[in-house]
């Protein structure tokens, strides 16, 4: 199982803050997971933004990072704290 989280503008536009995705060995990287989500249709195209940020197990990573069963993955727009 993969635990997915979305934050800020993505969370609002997807109307989804978290979901679980069954583990699927064909999803090797965060980019694969993103592609899987984009294939769901129009509403998910917000994740196509080039400046998307992501985290694996609560650490920033690149879209090319490898994932494993049980991971917590998050997608979010560029951060704006401080």
């Amino acid at each position: 199982m993969i635990n997915l989280q979305f934050f800020a503008r993505y969370r609002e536009q997807l109307d989804c803050e978290a979901e679980q995705l069954p583990w699927d060995a064909s999803l090797q990287t965060l980019a694969d997971v993103r592609q899987h989500l984009l294939a769901r249709g129009e509403q998910w195209q917000v994740l196509a933004e080039p400046r998307i940020m992501c985290a694996r197990n609560q650490e920033l990573c690149s879209l090319e990072a490898l994932i494993a069963d049980g991971d917590e993955l998050a997608f979010f727009p560029p951060v704006t704290g401080g």
């Binding site: 920033l60 998050a74 979010f76 727009p77 560029p78 704006t80 704290g81």
Partner: protein, 152 residues
Amino acid sequence: MRIAVQQQAFDPGEWLNRLQGDNQGTGAVVGFVGYVRDYNDGDPVAGMWLEHYPGMTEKALQGIADQASERWPLLDVQLIHRVGQLDPGEPIVFVGAASAHRQAAFAATEFIMDYLKTRAPFWKRETTPQGERWVESRESDEQALERWSSQP
């Protein structure tokens, strides 16, 4: 070192004073305070809501403070960031560093702010006369980060 993420208001002056602690080897303390402004991008701002990624936020801030401590001879680091609803004029964030001499304290505080702005999972949504809007990240913040990869 102390790192806090909280909804409650805080007093920046108290956080500044805490940096010296009981350490009489501290010669220099630098503190930064970020406040909610009452306008942004040309529009008046009536309030702000700060979202974050619970769990990751604290780890990210700790990681940034640790990096600063490896890079400069710091005697203390203090960092607090608010989340939730804020009014214009309220402090959002305090970051401070203590050292024997001022160069390390200045550099570390700027370094932490530059990383916090671009690498810590916070998002601002502000209330304007046109409604709620998510604050856009600034290119200048990414640029500010770049200098730390070349400079000692």
